[in-house]
């Protein structure tokens, strides 16, 4: 057992500052050894793991940056979605859904949160086209509007909202847009696209 708090005998003065010759605290040394041990184990394990994931994904050079983790997470997610039961709306059911007041009022909330920046607070058009006039760039039928909202026209700046909001909210937004047709608005944007009755 070493003596505690023994002053280190030196010839130097250190401007009057003395130093004890204490040993390093045991717990501190174990902390240090523990960290070094962790580092020694983690690095080879992790490098090997991410390499294996990248190789399994077939991504090759594209995946040099942690791509392995990404692929693993996407695969988990895809499997989960494939297993989830889905309900599809078609034909009259779909039209009924789009015309129902509940969908329209739900859609108004979605529209105000996500669409007004480009289409204006009344749908009069700003960056994006006017949604209240009878002119349509990509078709004005309920199905066409739903498709435009859901899948977007990314080249023109219209996002695929289904990927952002989910299909439920995207469908509600479409319902609200359909309800806007023919509404009178102040300062409407000039017509774009083809006239539809």
């Amino acid at each position: 057992m070493e003596e505690k708090d023994k002053i280190l005998e030196t010839h130097q003065d250190n401007d009057g500052i003395q130093e004890y010759d204490n040993p390093l605290p045991g717990w501190f040394l174990y902390l240090f050894y523990g960290c070094v041990l962790f580092a020694g184990l983690y690095a080879p394990y992790y490098v090997g793991y991410s390499h294996a994931m990248a190789t399994a994904g077939g991504g090759g050079a594209n995946l040099s940056a942690s791509g392995g983790d990404y692929l693993a997470s996407v695969r988990l997610e895809e499997a989960a979605r494939a297993a989830a039961p889905t309900v599809e709306l078609k034909g009259a059911d779909l039209i009924g859904y789009l015309k129902s007041p509940a969908s329209v009022s739900g859609g108004e909330t979605v529209f105000k949160a996500n669409c007004v920046a480009c289409h204006g607070d009344q749908g009069q058009g700003v960056v994006g086209p006017n949604l209240t006039d009878p002119f349509w760039l990509h078709g004005g039928s309920p199905q066409a509007v739903l498709a435009s909202v859901s899948h977007g026209y990314p080249d023109k700046g219209m996002p695929a909202w289904k990927n952002v909001l989910g299909s439920e909210k995207a469908r509600m937004a479409a319902a609200y847009v359909i309800s806007l047709k023919g509404r009178t608005v102040s300062s409407p944007k000039a017509p774009q696209g083809d006239k539809e009755p």
């Binding site: 500052i17 003395q18 983790d69 989830a84 039961p85 960056v127």
Partner: protein, 737 residues
């Protein structure tokens, strides 16, 4: 024995400069905090918009407040530890005045957008060069004093000063290498992944060797002095000094987890950061345990209060740092306010409180007058402590809120908060709390300035302190008991110590950088990636000038939530022409790497004119002036020439035709805007910035064919309602683990 005088005038000069810059730098910080709480604090002025003011704040507090504090303490303690006046009074004065001039000129330059666009290394090449020379002056002055010392062995504080002087020189020079375009503009020699690695090797070690090692040195001098107690353990100081300087240098890549930096470098950065915990705590232990036997003095002595709290914050920050460098923690914490909280617990907790304690200790000795008011010093301590707690806790909450909300998915498999602004507006109350904490901290500093000013006013005429010193260095201590430790030999040979330190700090950097530069597979080439057009290059320079990187990243990490929110994750080969890289370190606003083509030109124009037009609730400053200022193409040929020198494959004729090319592209964007009713933009700066933003992330065709695009569009596009979702999409299952 010999009677000598220490140069105390220089200590007093640095002390006052430290206080002046502290007030300025922290006021800028408080203003920035207010700008985040309400965008109106940008006042519509380009000069103080967030992106330009933040470099002023960081540089002023690190290099002006911190730097002057270091020099103040180093000049005071070195002379006394070596029993010698500084090598040259003239060099001391040159060091002082040149340092203040660099900060003043550089700081004003930041307000005018003169910046290299690399965090904490924003100074342009011309000032970088002056800074390097001043550092050499400091080194000559320091080592000259060492050579003339009257004390054989160097005390631990001096080892830390030596480590600082050497490492900062290496970091500054390697990271600062650039080719000038004009006096106020240059491009770094590195691009993309390499630039990121060098920058964060520098950036992290600016923390390590500018905000840690010199202050540990000051701690080793001033804490035992103030406590009048021996240092707890000599052996611990030897161990933690060498472990700290060796391990620190490797840790930089933890700022680049999950980015396009090669995985092996990230892993090295992480494990070395984890190992760094122990030597950092070695410093904390030696500081706190030195206070054993003096704890009762804390009740009355504000200086020891400052020191004890400072060292405690050092321990907390150096626990938090390794924690945040663990990749799966970093997946959540990176780009969030948590990082801001972390650096401030180090900066205003550890560094700030240590500096305040040191100044309260020095002022009565330097001006030979008791401190004007102990009560005000105590009040300063409590105000500062409460201020830090408000600051750090609000940023913890804000950061974790951001991280979790960014990553949250609904059961249907889409982002729960697809609108980035919803997350921004959620944390605004915390921005106000942070500003409150910051104003307390600044208020405390102002109390100190008053206290010091009153003390100085009643001080007698100035005299340098005199000391009786031996005429020659003390006899070598071979026979003395200290020789039982091998390290004592090194302490008697400062130049050997300096060289050994250089070797130790060089290893980490070399191991991480050389393969990243030389081995091609680390940055696989993508043939579709082409150099920016002249107009886009000008736009990029505006992006750098306005400091957009202070709030926006350009690095989509390979996580499900980021791919869903921004687009395909970023590939290393996409950044090969980015001098400098602009990956950023913070997402106050969304990532911009895949912004190209997401919106049309009109959207960008309106958004820059006033972000609230397109994005209600946005806290971004308005960049209306970009719609009014004329695009300056006078330097474009020079810029293309420098880029060619850097290896960017522009054809030779681009150098002569670049202006015409830029004008042609500008006209085509202006024509598109004109269709939407906006006229007269063809020669405005905003056009170049839009051109750059629309180019970002579009070289690879990720929207149509990228693997990520395919996977986020699965399953088939038929409208489907997830009636029941059976799996959790909690981020911890999806990403980062």
């Amino acid at each position: 024995m010999l009677r000598i005088k220490y140069d105390d005038k220089i200590t007093r000069m640095f002390l006052i400069a430290c206080l002046v810059w502290g007030v300025l730098g922290m006021s800028a910080g408080l203003w920035l905090a207010l700008e985040l709480a309400s965008w109106k604090f940008n006042l519509g002025l380009p000069y103080i918009s967030f992106g330009r003011l933040r470099p002023l704040h960081t540089n002023a507090v690190i290099f002006a407040f911190g730097g002057n504090a270091i020099f103040c303490g180093v000049y005071y303690s070195t002379q006394r530890l070596l029993k010698a006046r500084m090598f040259s009074d003239v060099l001391s004065r040159i060091h002082f005045w040149a340092w203040q001039a660099i900060i003043l000129v550089g700081g004003i330059g930041f307000l005018f957008g003169i910046t290299q666009g690399k965090e904490y290394a924003e100074l342009e090449w011309s000032l970088d060069l002056v800074l390097a020379l001043v550092w050499v002056v400091f080194a000559i002055n320091f080592f000259g004093t060492v050579a003339r010392r009257r004390e054989k062995h160097l005390y631990v504080a001096l080892w830390f000063y030596i480590g600082t002087i050497i490492t900062i020189a290496v970091l500054h020079i390697v990271n600062g290498l650039a080719i000038p375009v004009s006096l106020t503009k240059s491009y770094p020699v590195y691009a993309g992944v390499q630039d990121a690695l060098v920058q964060w090797w520098y950036g992290h070690n600016a923390v390590g060797f500018f905000l840690t090692t010199p202050f540990l040195g000051l701690m080793y001098y001033f804490v035992p002095k103030a406590a009048e107690r021996p240092v707890y353990s000599y052996r611990l100081s030897v161990m933690h000094f060498w472990a700290l300087v060796f391990l620190y240098i490797w840790a930089g890549p933890h700022h680049l987890h999950y980015t396009a930096l090669p995985d092996w470098a990230q892993d090295l950065g992480m494990v070395f950061s984890v190992m760094l915990l122990a030597p950092s705590w070695g410093g904390m232990l030696n500081g706190l345990l030195t206070l054993r036997g003096a704890w009762h003095k804390l009740r009355t002595d504000p200086i020891l209060k400052f020191f004890a709290a400072s060292i405690t914050f050092y321990g907390m920050a150096t626990f938090e740092g390794p924690l945040m460098s663990i990749k799966s923690v970093n997946a959540l914490s990176h780009y969030t306010e948590w990082t801001i909280g972390h650096v401030h617990s180090g900066a205003i907790g550890w560094v700030g409180l240590l500096v305040f304690g040191m100044i309260y200790w020095l002022v009565p000795r330097m001006w030979r007058t008791p401190l004007h008011s102990q009560a005000l010093a105590n009040a300063h301590f409590w105000t500062a402590l409460v201020g830090i707690l408000f600051y750090v806790v609000s940023m913890w909450i804000a950061g974790i809120t951001q991280g979790l909300m960014w990553k949250e998915f609904t059961n249907e498999g889409v982002l729960a908060y697809p609108n980035f602004l919803e997350i921004v507006t959620k944390i605004i109350p915390l921005y106000w709390l942070r500003a409150f904490g910051g104003s307390l901290y600044l208020g405390g500093l102002l109390v100190m300035v008053y206290n010091v000013a009153r003390t100085i006013r009643s001080a007698p005429a100035f005299q340098d302190e005199e000391a009786m010193v031996p005429e020659a260095p003390a006899v070598p201590a071979h026979a003395a008991p200290v020789a039982q430790y091998w390290h004592a030999v090194l302490e008697g040979r400062p130049f050997a110590l300096a060289i050994l330190t250089t070797v130790v700090i060089a290893i980490g950097g070399i191991v991480e950088m050389v393969p990243t530069f030389l081995i091609e597979s680390n940055v696989p080439t993508i043939t579709a990636v082409k150099p920016y057009t002249p107009l886009e290059l000008e736009g990029r320079d505006i992006y750098v000038r306005e400091g957009c990187y202070n709030c926006h990243s350009q690095m989509v990490r390979p996580f499900r939530d980021e791919v869903a929110r921004y687009g395909d994750y970023s590939k290393p080969g996409e950044f090969v022409y980015d001098h400098p890289f602009q990956w950023g370190s913070k997402r106050t606003g969304p990532d911009l790497h895949r912004i190209g083509g997401k919106y049309n030109n009109l959207w960008h124009l309106r958004h820059l004119d006033d972000p609230r037009l397109t994005s209600p609730g946005s806290i971004m400053p308005a960049y209306r002036f970009l719609l009014e200022s004329k695009l300056d193409l006078s330097l474009t040929p020079n810029k293309i020439r420098v880029m060619r020198q850097l290896g960017v494959p522009y054809a030779k004729e681009v150098e002569t035709e670049c202006r015409t090319q830029a004008q042609t592209q500008a006209r085509s964007i202006a024509a598109d805007l004109e269709k939407d009713g906006v006229k007269g933009m063809a020669d405005k700066e905003v056009i170049a910035l839009i051109a750059y933003l629309q180019r970002l992330g579009t070289d690879i065709k990720w929207r149509e064919t990228g693997p990520a695009a395919a996977s986020i569009q699965a399953p088939a596009p038929a409208p489907a309602v997830a009636a029941t979702a059976t799996t959790s999409t909690h981020p911890s299952k999806g990403a980062g683990i």
